[in-house]
Structures are given as structure tokens and as C-alpha cells.
């Protein structure tokens, strides 16, 4: 089976192994550990979201080659896998920044001025919501309530939480993101 990417020339698994040997081994080891049943699409389908979740954890996103490998190993079509990826907002097939900045837009954060923080971040980073900067450093996204409403407005950068954020704190938040 071919697909729309360059992986038809080189097998997707081979290409991934060449580019990202460690990550690819981690993914294949994970899939090896699944109780898949060859030819039982209904059963294997049950492991799809779990596999994609792990794959995104490993690779940071779900490039076509990863989709192809998952497709081959689980015996599901590429189109079905893409359908699932495009359905869940959590999954992305585009590389996202190393620092995932998510501004909470839940009710409490919103009334305390989260939108102004989003605007400030957009201006500073030059990207829209849901986009990654060209240098792949920052991703700007939005969240719906992280359960810290007393700290509103809240910004999360990867697993770090900033509370009572004001637009003039944005520079310091970005400065904290040192590679």
C-alpha cells in the first residue's frame, strides 16, 4: 500500500529507524507489548488511541511515517488512523514546539483577562493560537480550566504552572524557557 508521502519510496519503518532510531525502537517495543491479534481488526482497533497517545508522547507529534507504522502493525487503514488523529484535538500530525504554552480560557481565567495574555503571547511569538514558531521552540495553545481557578489567570508551560499572570509577565515566562 502506498500513501501520499515520500514513505512509499522507502519503507516507513526503515525511514523512521534511520532518522529517529531510539524513538522508533521505543514505539515498536510498545506495540510489540500489545496483545494484538493478527487479522482481528475489531480487537486491534481497541488499541489505536492508546498507541497514538504513546507515539505522540515519544515523537512529540504524529508524522505520516508514524501513522504508516501504526497502520501496518495494527492492520488498520491509513485513512481510519488519520480520521482518529483529526478527531481528537489532543493529537497533532504537525511538529509542535518544545515549550507548549497553554493559556487557560476557562471562565475564571477568562474574566480575569486571559484573552489579553493570549494577545500578548501572539504578538511576542508571531503565531496564532494552535501554531508553533518557526524555530520549533514555542507552541501556543489554549486550555479549558486546569482546576486552579484561585490562581486565575493561569498559563501552563509544559508541566509548569504560572498563576495570577499579567501581560507584563509574558517576557519573563518566555525567558524561563531556556533550552
Amino acid at each position: 500500500m502506498t500513501c501520499c508521502c515520500e514513505c512509499s519510496k522507502e519503507k516507513a519503518l526503515d525511514k523512521l529507524m534511520r532518522l529517529e532510531p531510539e524513538k522508533t525502537s521505543e514505539l515498536t517495543a510498545f506495540i510489540d507489548g500489545l496483545p494484538l491479534v493478527a487479522g482481528d481488526v475489531e480487537k486491534n482497533r481497541g488499541f489505536l488511541v492508546e498507541t497514538l497517545h504513546r507515539a505522540q508522547g515519544i515523537f512529540g507529534y504524529l508524522p505520516v511515517e508514524v501513522q504508516q507504522v501504526v497502520s501496518e502493525r495494527l492492520g488498520l487503514t491509513r485513512s481510519e488512523i488519520y480520521g482518529v488523529i483529526s478527531f481528537y484535538s489532543y493529537f497533532t500530525d504537525k511538529p509542535i514546539g518544545r515549550y507548549k504554552i497553554n493559556v487557560c480560557l476557562g471562565t475564571a481565567c477568562f474574566v480575569k483577562g486571559a484573552a489579553k495574555i493570549v494577545d500578548e503571547l501572539k504578538a511576542k511569538l508571531g503565531v496564532d493560537e494552535g501554531e508553533t514558531t518557526a524555530d520549533q521552540k514555542f507552541f501556543l495553545g489554549a486550555l479549558r480550566c486546569v482546576g486552579s481557578c484561585s490562581l486565575a489567570p493561569v498559563v501552563m508551560v509544559n508541566n509548569r504552572v504560572y498563576g495570577n499572570v499579567t501581560p507584563d509577565m509574558v517576557d519573563q515566562i518566555l525567558a524561563d524557557c531556556e533550552d
Partner: protein, 575 residues
């Protein structure tokens, strides 16, 4: 059995039946849109997405979608309460609110199931205004046009592609208002494993999936004084085109088809049946050679371009198995642009070959680069049965009043063996007739191999010809083909020959045929007509076709000769 009441009438149906099925036994037709059922293939699509079939069930607070609600003992169903009818109308209005209103210029005009329902429900005004989903049109390639702004998310095409054909190209993508059916990564169909079989087009109730048309180009060529435009008609067209003009399904309109094509202005009206006979000569010779050597068995037929695509994409390890014989369409093109052009003394580039096909994959096949010489395609344009019907209407030709006319010669003479190419099993039966005739003599050798006929997905037969026990199989519908090929891969089968057709039931159910809207009685009728046409012909074996005998004497030499190989054979590529 489950006992229930529908509109106060008691009815008993088997457990697991739906309310819709129970209502059908009472002669009630609940309106449906996303639901489709292909009875003769035991396939049903009941995703319940459109909610047009809702009914009221006493004791249930919500209306129930009848297409996917199983019956229960003592159920009390009312199909036509004002609440149900109001809800259906609302569903339709909501669907229409996000659907282009360009029905007059839509290629599905008057064949659209949404349009029919809007008419039946007398909807003249859509009260919901708002955004409309818009997607770019994919009309890359030669066969299928996708205009997903018209998609109503019934997802019938997904069932056709993924369940029936197991091609697996289409899937629901995105969510909410942005949801649409698309290939992976929104690729164009030409960049996927699509076989262009067109079963998704047959399944689509609206104008989201249609064919890429070539009517305008053909009219243009017909009016170009420098060009000689000839036409070939596939076997399955003659038993279906009448439906477009109000004939009963299963009427054979060969004579009127020829007359209509002549009135449209084709210089010669020829028949793909002629080249089907030629195909049998080449394919049967190849089969006998493989049986004699015992090598590379089974021989798989190669007439069906949808199947060839499927093989190239999904079974690259079996590329050596199909016959190298080109399909009848391409054999016709190759002979027309060599033998025939020479015979009438014109340059092949001034000869335009048009095909009328029940098929959309044929459009793709004709565009394959190996079927052209110095940029001159062997077959220039492929029109579907539907497109030809539209041309006939456009030209003001009154089809039912046409006299029955005969094909032109030399590429128009054919046999019963050729016409049965149009139904699943026909190619194999035609080959068996010729193999039997060659080995046992034509006086006593059998003609009717009924075991390979019918609409079942996989058929098997063992026939003894001249002491050789020949094991053969027939598969139609790519899902069935996959099952059979996987058995071959596992080494579980010992067949000599297998006929393969991409569309369930063969070309009578092709993607370019008049829309059947899930009414498979139409397919039965077309199939029966194919075998009636066969019975009605004086010659029923390909090798006894006088024009075929003549072209080997005059031009090709013997079947599988060097010249025959150059013109009539091809090769396959992994994709």
C-alpha cells in the same frame, strides 16, 4: 419471532430486525437517506447519521431512528405522527442549510436522494441560515470527482470503500462542523490506494462523488472535420442504458444504442465485444500454456482496471499472476490505432477512439502512460453509461423511438462469449468455451457453464475438458477478491484460473452505470439480460467470430505471436 405493532397493525419479524425492516414487510416505506442496503450482496449501511427515518415508539421519550433501532416484543410504533414528520422535515432543513443550493447545475440533478426528499417533503424555504462548510474540489486524475462541500456525512461511501471493497481510502475526518469524508491527510485520490472502481460514486446519495466527465471534449472532436471519431461500447452498457430512458431494468437495447451513437455523429459504431473475443483468444492461449507447463498458476484475469489497481497497490507479490492480456477496451484502442487506421488509410493521430463504459476505472485505465504511443492515446476519451445517456438527451434523440441498428464492421462483430463479460463469471465462462472448443472440437464441446454465473461474491467450479480437470473460481467485489487472494498467498488453493472483477456482480454494477440507489433487483435484471443476449446470438464462442479469425489471418498471426504481444499485452507495476 418478535411481535409488535406498527401503525396499529400487528406484525411478526425475526429477532434482530429493525423497525424499518418490519415496516417494509407491511408495505410501508419510511423515508431514509443515509441508510442503504444491497440485498443481493448481504451488505447494509446503517450508521443512523441523518435521522430522516425517525418514528415514534410509545413509551420512549425520544424519536427512534427506524433504520438502526431493533424491534422489541410488544413495541408500539407509529411512523407518521405529526411529531415524527415534523422532526424529519427539520432534519432535512438542517441538512439543506449546510448544502449548496445549486441543484440546477449539479451533475446529480434529478438523481439526488436529498433533492427527492426535499421535493417529497415539499420544502420550499430553509429557515436556518448560517455558515456553509466549504472544501476544495478534488478533480485530479481521470476518473472520480470529489466535491465535499456537497457531502451530507451519510458515510455510505466509507462502507462501499472500506467494508465492501476493503480498499480503505475513505474515512470520516475532523469533527463537528468541519467533519468530512476524506482520504488520509486530505490527499487527492490519485495519491492514495484508490482503485477508481467507483462504488463510492454509486453509493453517494448526493453530488459529492461523481465522475470526471468528457462529454464536452467528445462533442468538440465530433465537430472537428479533421478527425475521424469512432466509438466502442462495453457489454454491460447495452443492458443498462435503457433505464435512463424509462425502460424496465434488464431490457436489452443494443440496437437502439447503436442507432443513437450513429445519430450523435460517430463515424463508425464498433463494439468492445469484438475485442472481448480477441481478449479470449489471447487469454485462453496463455491459460493453456500455463496449464501445460504447470507454471504460474492460477491465471488471474486482467480485464478489470479497478482490480488491476487493487492488485498493484495491495498485492505486489502477486503481480506475475494475472494474464498479460490487455483489457478489451485497450485491445480495441490498440487495434483501432494500428490495424484499423492502416486499413482506412489515416494517421492514428487523426483517429479519435471513444469508449462507452459502465466503469470509472476505465477512464483511469485509458490514461495510463503505457497505453499510448508517442503521446497518442490508444483510447482518447471514456464516457460512462450515464454520460452517454446525457449526450443522447442533449442531442434531442428520442431513444425509445429509434430503430434497432447493427454495429459497423470489421470491429463490430461479436459473439455471446463476449457479451457475458458484462456479468461476474462471464470472462471465465467465455475462456472455458474456447478452451473446450479448441481441445474437444466445436461440435460437442459445452457452451453453458452455469456454475460460474450469478451475483455471489465467490464462486467455484471444477470442469473436465478433454480429460483435464480444471479448477476455477470467480470473485467479484474487491472484499471477496481479497479473501481469495489471501487464500492463494497462504497456499490453500489449487486453482487453474480465477476471474476477478472489482465491482460486486461485475460490470453490470459498475461505477459508471445508471445509479441503482441500492435497488439490487436492477442488478439481477441486468445480469439476466446479459445471459439472454448471449443466448440470442448465433455464435457463442469467441474463436468462431469470423472477424477475429480474419484479423489473425491478416494481421496478428497467431494468438500470443510477437505482433500480438506487442499490441495486445501489457505488464503491471507495484504501486
Amino acid at each position: 419471532m418478535i411481535n409488535l405493532k406498527i401503525n396499529n397493525t400487528p406484525v411478526s419479524v425475526p429477532e434482530g430486525s429493525t423497525i424499518l425492516e418490519a415496516a417494509e414487510t407491511l408495505g410501508l416505506k419510511i423515508p431514509t437517506l443515509c441508510h442503504i442496503k444491497w440485498d443481493c450482496f448481504n451488505t447494509e449501511h446503517r450508521c443512523g447519521s441523518c435521522r430522516v427515518c425517525v418514528v415514534e415508539v410509545t413509551g420512549r421519550p425520544n424519536l427512534a431512528p427506524s433504520c438502526c433501532t431493533p424491534v422489541a416484543e410488544g413495541m408500539d410504533v407509529h411512523t407518521n405522527t405529526s411529531r415524527a414528520i415534523r422532526a424529519r422535515r427539520t432534519m432535512l432543513e438542517l441538512l439543506l442549510s449546510n448544502h449548496p443550493k445549486d441543484c440546477l447545475v449539479c451533475s446529480k440533478n434529478q438523481e439526488c436522494e436529498l433533492q427527492r426528499l426535499a421535493s417529497a417533503f415539499n420544502i420550499h424555504h430553509i429557515k436556518y441560515e448560517g455558515a456553509q462548510s466549504e472544501f476544495p474540489v478534488d478533480e485530479n486524475g481521470a476518473a472520480i470527482r470529489r466535491d465535499m462541500s456537497k457531502c451530507i456525512m451519510c458515510r455510505r461511501c466509507e462502507t462501499a470503500c472500506n467494508v465492501v471493497q476493503t480498499v480503505g481510502v475513505l474515512s470520516g475526518v475532523n469533527r463537528g462542523f468541519n467533519a468530512v469524508v476524506a482520504p488520509e491527510n486530505f490527499a487527492q485520490l490519485t495519491d492514495t490506494a484508490c482503485t477508481f472502481c467507483g462504488q463510492c460514486v454509486q453509493a453517494c446519495p448526493v453530488g459529492a462523488l461523481t465522475e470526471i466527465g468528457y462529454k464536452d471534449e467528445v462533442w468538440e472532436q465530433l465537430n472537428n472535420p479533421k478527425k475521424t471519431v469512432i466509438v466502442q461500447t462495453a457489454p454491460a452498457v447495452r443492458v443498462a442504458i435503457g433505464e435512463e430512458f424509462g425502460f424496465q431494468a434488464g431490457e436489452i437495447s443494443t440496437g437502439k444504442l447503436v442507432a443513437a451513437l450513429r445519430r450523435i455523429g460517430f463515424a463508425k459504431v464498433f463494439d468492445t465485444d469484438w475485442s472481448a473475443d480477441l481478449t479470449i483468444m489471447e487469454e485462453s492461449t496463455e491459460l493453456l500454456e500455463r496449464i501445460k507447463s504447470g507454471e504460474n498458476l492460477p491465471l488471474l484475469t486482467s480485464c478489470c482496471p479497478g482490480w488491476v489497481n487493487f492488485l498493484e497497490h495491495q498485492f505486489p507479490d502477486l503481480l506475475h499472476m494475472p494474464s498479460t492480456a490487455k483489457s478489451p477496451q485497450q485491445m480495441f484502442g490498440a487495434i483501432a490505432k494500428s490495424y484499423y487506421a492502416e486499413k482506412i488509410g489515416i494517421d492514428p493521430s487523426d483517429l479519435i477512439v471513444v469508449s462507452i463504459m459502465p466503469c470509472l476505472a476505465k477512464k483511469y485505465e485509458a490514461s495510463r502512460p503505457e497505453f499510448a504511443n508517442d503521446g497518442v492515446r490508444d483510447v482518447d476519451y471514456v464516457l460512462s453509461t450515464r454520460e452517454l445517456a446525457s449526450m443522447i438527451k442533449e442531442a434531442g434523440i428520442v431513444f425509445d423511438r429509434l430503430p434497432d441498428e447493427q454495429y459497423d464492421n470489421p470491429l463490430g462483430e461479436s459473439t455471446g462469449a463476449a457479451v457475458i463479460f458484462g456479468a461476474s463469471g462471464g470472462v471465465l465462462e467465455a475462456a472455458l468455451r474456447t478452451v473446450a472448443g479448441w481441445l474437444e472440437g466445436d461440435k460437442d464441446s459445452p457452451i453453458d457453464f452455469v456454475a460460474v454465473r450469478g451475483l455471489e461474491g465467490i464462486k467455484e467450479a471444477t470442469v473436465t475438458i478433454a480429460g483435464i480437470e480444471l479448477k476455477a473460481a470467480v470473485a467479484s467485489g474487491l472484499g471477496n477478491v481479497r479473501k481469495l487472494l489471501e487464500r492463494i498467498q497462504r497456499g490453500e488453493t489449487q486453482y487453474h484460473a480465477i476471474e476477478v472483477m472489482a465491482c460486486p456482480g461485475g460490470c453490470i454494477n459498475g461505477g459508471g452505470q445508471p445509479y441503482n440507489h441500492g435497488n439490487t433487483a436492477i442488478l439481477e435484471a441486468r445480469k439476466d439480460a446479459i445471459y439472454r443476449a448471449d443466448k440470442g446470438l448465433p455464435i457463442r464462442k469467441s474463436h468462431l467470430n469470423p472477424s477475429i479469425v480474419k484479423i489473425y489471418e491478416e494481421y496478428l498471426g497467431k494468438p500470443n505471436s510477437e505482433k500480438a504481444h506487442k499490441l495486445l499485452h501489457t505488464h503491471y507495476h507495484a504501486k
